[in-house]
């Protein structure tokens, strides 16, 4: 029986971990991820999971430990935020390259300096080329649902890649929301058993992972990794559909909201898309503005063709980025612009919410109004605009 409970984003992810019952979890505390591991450590101590829980001395070690556990045939998970993710950097590439289906919630937080504990996407956006699949969550329910689906996606034999489940620090991690939790058995059946065919502990077929490969084979490894990423979209869609049949909540790689007849479409990811949806409802009622939101759930692999299709009838598109690629603009904006290469109307880039700066409903509405104005006037310079900046 599904159960309705009130949990924070961290608690929701911890609850998903409890139901996943990973073989190994290694972690190091960092705000705002910390409570997730508190909750999970309590499940371990209470015997509710059979996990080998290792409180290691740094995130670099956490990722190293779960990589090795994963290669040894274990279902291994961890979680982190911001600087913790940055400290894992070296190992993030190795996790993906060694094809370790690790699931890792990343509680999005701004990177230093200045040191800041609040939400933005500089951490996971920076990790976009590490070879991990990235799913972004709009609310706590999605964080929970994404974490469960992540296991299936990661471990699919055609994929075998690690998955980051991104959820916004504090905005989701520390906010209590209603959660529809699946019952344990449903989850157990859905995720199944993890069996790695080429595991390190197979004495019959001894294996070496991550060994020296120079000009002779390194290139082929990378091509295989790129191919695995190509397989992921079909798996993500299939898993999202199956999850929907099971729970009534199905998932695609995109989540369009009132886009069908929309002239003005805002694209983005994470919790602020909830605010943007409210702005759409309000502006349609108050001002008759035909607007919509295109939420990106799956950022890696990048669903460029789907995005292009979803935006083809929009008169103007605004892309909201909670991160900056310095010297370029918003990373999401640039990927979308390149996906829409060769026409398809004007686009503006809105950088917002860095270091936890709030995106209020009013500010979200301003973004739509700004776009509508640009559409009418044809004035699309500057392309990169900052929302809610104190200047």
């Amino acid at each position: 029986m599904a159960e309705r409970m009130a949990l924070t984003g961290n608690d929701s992810a911890a609850y998903a971990f409890k139901q996943i019952n990973p073989d190994v979890v290694a972690a190091y505390p960092i705000t705002p991820q910390t409570e997730l591991m508190h909750k999970f450590a309590a499940y371990v101590a209470d015997g509710e999971v059979k996990t080998e829980f290792v409180p290691v001395e740094s995130e670099h070690s956490a990722m190293s430990a779960v990589i090795a556990a994963s290669l040894a045939g274990a279902r291994a998970c961890t979680a982190t935020s911001a600087n913790g993710l940055a400290l894992m950097w070296e190992m993030l590439y190795i996790a993906a390259s060694c094809r370790c289906p690790i699931v890792m919630p990343v509680i999005n937080r701004a990177l230093s300096a200045p040191i800041n504990i609040h939400c933005d996407h500089s951490d996971t956006m920076g990790a976009r080329d590490t070879g991990w699949i990235q799913l972004y969550s709009e609310n706590c329910q999605e964080a929970y649902d994404n974490a469960l689906q992540a296991v299936r996606i990661a471990e699919h034999p055609d994929v075998m890649l690690p998955v980051m489940v991104c959820l916004d620090g504090f905005i989701l991690s520390h906010t209590l929301e209603g959660l529809e939790a699946n019952d344990d058995e449903t989850v157990r059946n859905f995720i199944g058993e993890y069996e790695r065919s080429d595991n390190l502990l197979d004495v019959e077929r001894p294996q070496t992972f991550g060994a020296f490969a120079l000009q002779n084979y390194y290139f082929e490894f990378k091509k295989q990794q790129a191919d695995a990423m190509q397989e992921a979209p079909a798996v993500i869609d299939e898993v999202g559909k199956e999850y929907g049949e099971l729970t009534g909540r199905s998932y695609g790689r995109l989540d369009p909201y009132r886009c069908d007849d929309a002239d003005v479409i805002v694209v983005g990811l994470g919790s602020s898309m909830g605010t943007a949806k409210q702005a759409v409802d309000d502006l349609r009622d108050e001002a008759g503005l035909k607007c919509g939101v295109l939420k990106i759930r799956c950022f890696r692999p990048f669903p460029g063709d789907l995005i292009r299709q979803a935006l083809q009838n929009a008169a103007i598109v605004g892309v909201m980025d909670r991160a900056v690629s310095f010297g370029l603009g918003g990373p999401l904006f640039h990927e979308i612009r390149s996906a829409r290469y060769g026409g398809d109307g004007p686009m503006l880039n809105f950088i917002y919410g860095l270091g936890g700066r709030d995106l209020s409903l009013d500010l979200a509405k301003d973004v739509f109004r700004n776009l509508a104005e640009a559409k009418d006037s044809g004035q699309v310079e500057p392309v990169v605009r900052y929302v809610g900046l104190r200047e």
Binding site: P29, M37, E57, S58, S112, I115
Partner: protein, 271 residues
């Protein structure tokens, strides 16, 4: 005491006229570098006492203008809001490396790190050992409260056996999580460090001893003698789930069993 008892109604009447400077003789005051602000530290936390000692010592040594602190990640991350000297912020655990860079460029400055057990003994252990092993001429102030305070009470490498934390809810089990890590004794294996001492701040006597050690540690640096580390057993009432007084007693009665107080190495004196 020339004008003792004056004004309390108990002393003998005296006709001696006191000069203004005698009347205003200051016996005790806030050190200049300790800013008159509310800190974010919990009641009974050892950081407050240590900040005061730090400010006092730097002032008494006359080096407030030369001092550069390296702030950690942990509860003391905002030390720069409380002690009015130059500071820089290091990434978690990297303070000794940052201090190395500062000191090598400015050998005339008084460079120190102020780090907790998560920062110094966990994520930053590599930097800790290598800065000590190179004998960097810096001063390391190590606040050991046997827990990660800022992230709300997880096991630290210095957590006591059996101590309950958020990541060891049934108490630290050495089978799976090892033993309390003794930083001073570990560094005592190295050749380069000149002063390694463990102290605490739970009684006035201890506070005075800590101050003397801290001063000596800075003097080591100012006289170019070399690397010093002062470990301070510091109460964290909040995540030990104790009252401040219980936490103070806990240090004296229990924590010191795992972490004996004393000077572990003092090459300066031996020389």
């Amino acid at each position: 005491m020339r004008s003792g008892n004056a004004g309390n109604g108990m002393g003998k009447k005296t006709t001696t006229k006191r000069t203004e400077s005698e009347v205003k003789r200051v016996l005790y005051e806030r050190p200049r570098a300790l800013l008159d602000v509310h800190t974010h530290y919990c009641a009974g936390c050892g950081h407050g006492t240590m900040h005061r000692l730090l400010a006092e010592v730097l002032e008494e040594l006359g080096v407030l203008e030369q001092a550069i602190g390296v702030a950690p990640v942990g509860c003391a991350v905002l030390a720069y809001d409380y002690v009015d000297i130059d500071w820089t912020e290091a990434a978690h655990g990297r303070a000794p490396a940052v201090a190395t860079g500062l000191k090598r460029v400015h050998p005339d400055k008084v460079v120190f790190t102020y780090q907790g057990d998560g920062d110094l003994a966990s994520i930053g252990m590599a930097e800790t050992i290598h800065a000590a092993n190179r004998g960097e001429n810096i001063t390391v102030i190590f606040i050991n409260n046997a827990i990660y305070g800022m992230t709300q009470g997880q096991m630290a490498p210095t957590t006591l056996i059996g101590q309950k934390t958020k990541t060891t809810p049934r108490g630290r089990d050495p089978e799976t999580t090892g033993y309390p890590l003794k930083v001073c004794e570990l560094l005592d294996q190295l050749v380069a460090p000149v002063l390694l001492a463990r102290t605490t701040v739970v009684t006035p006597k201890h506070v005075r001893q800590t101050k003397a050690l801290l001063k000596k540690a800075f003097q080591c640096q100012m006289e170019n003698v070399g690397y010093s580390l002062i470990e301070v057993l510091s109460p964290c009432p909040t995540y030990w789930h104790m009252t401040p007084m219980e936490a103070y007693h806990f240090i004296e009665q229990t924590v010191t069993d795992s972490f004996p107080l004393g000077v572990i190495r003092d090459v300066k004196d031996r020389a």
